[in-house]
């Protein structure tokens, strides 16, 4: 989990650094960019300004701004042949989108970049974009794909060496990381050590620090703490004198992890706290979440539950925002354990459920995919709006540029530039405010949507988990307790036969009777938990037994009309429908004051329909619907689990009818 933290920095440093370093102050960059932009012609110069500006924003961590700049530049230059810089713009947009966790857009940008750059024979941008795709795959935990991209990049570098020799360490570093994440520690360490041997390439120091940290991390996993410390020290030495809070954070975080693993909690705590300060200074909340996650584990080990909860909640909040699923899983797991130890089983259960959702590798993958596809859906809409907005802004800019041109000819150059800057800031401010408003709204909608999705996943695993648990308990009751009771009965009856005195002993006979009662009660409980007939013979027979046993009780007559084909459904569907009917009949018995209830099941080529109709007192639907009604919620959940729908009609004094429709597709497969 920790290893992933290095990606952002790699992305940041891969190719964009070096350009922006000449600018020391934000204002200067903005100024120079604006001045260039305001010039009416010279698209080449303008392109360079755009590139520089988006790089600058990127390196300042303003990924959304960087993406917007690149997008508006792409719109402006699309179709114009500008000295082969267009692929770079796409590359910048792809990098920014990657850092914004917008993978679908990022993939599109990077693919376009590769296609254009290949066409123009710009090998460097091809390599850069392939490396970026590798890192994105790595980030999405598809390591196999990542390694494939690295190999592809290596092939191109080999072909055009030595022009691109400087990229070898970058590729090796990425491959090394992937290997370490996949627990191929020795190989991963070897690749990273290779990086340390390369000298004199762009960003050398940064890559050496990262490689040293990777090696250190690998050794921690191998429990080789001496070597780990050695490389940690190398990283620290290389860093001394540098002022880069992102690198600082990585070093301190690794240091903290090192001490944590060695069991030196006070040193670990101190290092993590430094890492928090660094992350805040870098305004890199992704990295901050990583540290929070580590602190959560640390405080849990220290059994300081208040701090554990505090950091876990902060980690969850951030991880949700940045899609750090493995951190979410860990936080939920730790919280579940904390509440378990505190005896708060309700919370413990809830967090355990969440943990299950996020940790289960298949559902993890699934959740991730669902979240991403939702993301792209909204992204599309948002892009459309952004583009519309940008077109307006561009038109405004164009108008402004024209006006500037006119005034320049009069001669009041400086004054007008100042005005233009003012106007630019004003329109930028307005534009930003509008976008921010729109974004907030979209985000809110997205949260609601994702929460719904999450609830669905949580509900599914809860229902399935619950049923598995019920079946297990029912089986245990029969096998364990049931066997003991039966054996006691056998012993007692044998003893009784051997002694005339006992045969007439009332207390002894009463004891035997009580064993019978206990056995009867046990069978009743086990039947309610999971009727054997349901698993053995299917829904129709199980409903028949249920109806008979209720009718036998005497107060309610169940008229069962079963017109289904009687073929077996998927066991999850059978159990779920059985529970629905159990709950509905339970409600009738408890609340309806009915004497008869019709249970009708029909099946046609599309769906299964179920009607449950009683002749009870009925109820006021509006009243019941307005309050959360536990029974109805359970039914609602189970019906929607089967992608079905249900309607209730109730007439006071006449009775209640419930009509449920379940598509056949939900009956025969479990997805």
């Amino acid at each position: 989990m920790r290893m992933r933290l290095l990606i952002l920095l790699l992305l940041t440093s891969t190719a964009l650094s070096g350009y922006a370093q000449q600018y020391n102050f934000h204002d200067q960059v903005v100024d120079s960019f604006l001045i260039e932009l305001k010039k009416p012609s010279h698209d080449t110069v303008k392109m360079n300004s755009f590139l520089a500006f988006s790089r600058y924003q990127f390196n300042a961590g303003q990924y959304e701004d960087a993406l917007r700049t690149a997008q508006s530049a792409i719109r402006y230059f699309r179709g114009k042949e500008i000295n082969g810089q267009l692929p770079r713009l796409y590359y910048n947009a792809g990098m920014s989108a990657t850092n914004l966790v917008k993978y679908d857009s990022a993939t599109q940008y990077l693919d376009t970049s590769i296609a254009l750059a290949t066409k123009e024979g710009n090998n460097e941008v091809v390599v850069l974009s392939i490396i970026a795709k590798a890192l994105m795959s790595d980030y999405r935990t598809d390591y196999e794909k990542a390694v494939n991209y690295y190999v592809e990049a290596l092939a191109i570098i080999n072909k055009v060496a030595p022009a691109l020799n400087g990229y070898y360490p970058k590729v090796y570093s990425g491959m090394g990381r992937c290997l370490i994440v996949q627990k191929q520690y020795e190989k991963g360490i070897a690749y990273n050590k290779l990086v340390l041997n390369y000298k004199g390439f762009a960003d050398e120091k940064r890559y050496h620090i990262l490689a040293a940290l990777n090696v250190s991390d690998g050794y921690i996993s191998l429990q080789n703490f001496d070597s780990s410390k050695k490389y940690l020290d190398i990283a620290s030495q290389l860093y001394s004198g540098l002022k880069n809070p992102v690198l600082g954070n990585l070093i301190h975080n690794t240091e903290g992890y090192f001490y944590y693993k060695r069991g030196d909690y006070s040193k670990a705590k101190a290092a993590y706290e430094k890492a928090v300060v660094d992350a805040n200074e870098a305004k890199n909340y992704y990295l901050l979440v990583e540290v929070y996650d580590n602190l959560t584990n640390l405080y849990f080990d220290l059994r300081d539950f208040n701090s554990t909860k505090k950091y876990a909640m902060m980690a969850i909040e951030g991880a949700r925002k940045h899609g750090q699923i493995s951190i979410l899983a860990n936080s939920f797991n730790v919280l579940s354990n904390v509440y378990k130890l505190e005896g708060d089983y309700r919370n413990a259960y809830e967090y355990a459920t969440l943990f299950k959702v996020y940790s289960d590798s298949s559902s993890n993958e699934q959740t991730r995919k669902e979240i991403l596809s939702l993301e792209s859906k909204y992204e599309f809409e948002k892009n459309r709006q952004e583009i519309a907005q940008l077109t307006i802004t561009n038109l405004k800019r164009q108008a402004e540029i024209n006006r500037n041109y006119f005034t320049i000819s009069i001669g009041a150059v400086i004054g007008i530039i100042l005005l233009a800057i003012l106007f630019y800031f004003y329109s930028r401010y307005k534009h930003k405010a509008l976008l921010a408003e729109k974004e907030t709204k979209l985000k809110e909608e997205k949260i609601v949507f994702l929460e719904g999705q999450q609830q669905m996943v949580a509900m599914k695993s809860m229902i399935e988990g619950q049923e598995a648990e019920r079946a297990r308990i029912a089986r245990d009751l029969h096998d364990g307790l049931g066997g003991i009771f039966s054996t006691i009965k056998m012993y007692f009856s044998t003893i009784r036969e051997q002694s005339q005195e006992l045969k007439e002993q009332p207390l002894f006979n009463k004891s035997i009777k009580m064993v019978d009662d206990a056995n009867e009660e046990l069978r009743r409980v086990a039947f309610n938990l999971m009727p054997e007939v349901l698993t053995r013979m299917g829904l129709s027979q199980a409903i028949l037994e249920l109806a008979n046993s209720i009718t036998h009780g005497g107060s309610l007559k169940v008229l069962l009309q079963d017109y289904t084909s009687k073929e077996r459904f998927h066991s999850n569907a059978e159990t779920t429908i059985y529970r629905i009917l159990q709950e509905l009949l339970n409600n009738v018995q408890k609340h309806a004051e009915a004497t008869e209830v019709v249970v009708q099941m029909n099946q046609n080529d599309q769906m299964l329909t179920i009607t449950v109709e009683d002749n009870g007192k009925g109820f006021d639907l509006n009243h019941t619907m307005s309050e959360p009604h536990a029974g109805l919620t359970t039914i609602q959940n189970r019906v929607s689990y089967l992608k079905g729908k249900y309607t209730i009609e109730s007439v006071l004094g006449v009775g209640t009818s419930i009509f449920i429709e379940i598509p056949n597709a939900s009956l025969y497969k479990n997805d």
């Binding site: 089986r475 029969h478 096998d479 049931g482 066997g483 003991i484 009771f485 039966s486 054996t487 009965k489 056998m490 012993y491 007692f492 009856s493 044998t494 009784r496 036969e497 051997q498 035997i512 064993v515 019978d516 056995n519 069978r523 039947f527 009727p531 054997e532 007939v533 053995r536 013979m537 027979q541 028949l544 037994e545 109806a547 008979n548 009718t551 036998h552 008229l559 069962l560 009309q561 017109y563 019709v598 009708q600 029909n602 046609n604 769906m607 329909t609 009607t611 109709e613 009609e649 006449v654 009775g655 009818s657 009509f659 429709e661």
Partner: protein, 212 residues
Amino acid sequence: MIRIVIIDDHPLVAGGIEMMIKSESHLSIVAHLQNAKEALQFLEESCPEIILLDVNLPDIDGLQLCEIIRGNYPETKIIVLTSIEEASIITQFLQKGANGFLLKNISKEEFIQAIDSVLDNKTFLSKIANENMIRHFASVNNALKSVPVLTRREKEILALLNEGMNGPQIAEHLFLSTYTIETHRKNMLQKFSVSSTQALLKKARDLKLLLT
């Protein structure tokens, strides 16, 4: 000497049975087998008069084993020993050739009675199993004989169909979707085993479910 074999993976219950018949000199437990594989191997060597068979076995299902034993050893009496009492499962076992059905919660008297009954070529059901079976057959019988009951919604729709309305008209009248009306109509066709609305209306009239 009546030889008995127990096929059950719960040692406790087997111990209880052994205890019960200790004083019965004509009965002897010759083997306690934990699963179907062991059981079939043992039966190849020597076939007992009585087999006590658990419903849930670790390898194959008790029902399947029951069928196999019945096929290979037609003379052996099989008594199903179980903790479940659902009538449909009992029926299934009887169909596959079981001679008796005993709940594990038995007294010695009942046990001896069960052994005697099956040896006398009678089918033995323990008291609760017997009650469940009677109830079960009564309800199945009733369901076969009885005229389908119409739900309130179905009555409504049937009456409107009888007035000559079509699906969309009924939908509008009842504020429901045509789709829902169609579903109810199809359900009624299924209930009365007819294939057209005309036939449905005729049958309903014959059964006096319509007041015209």
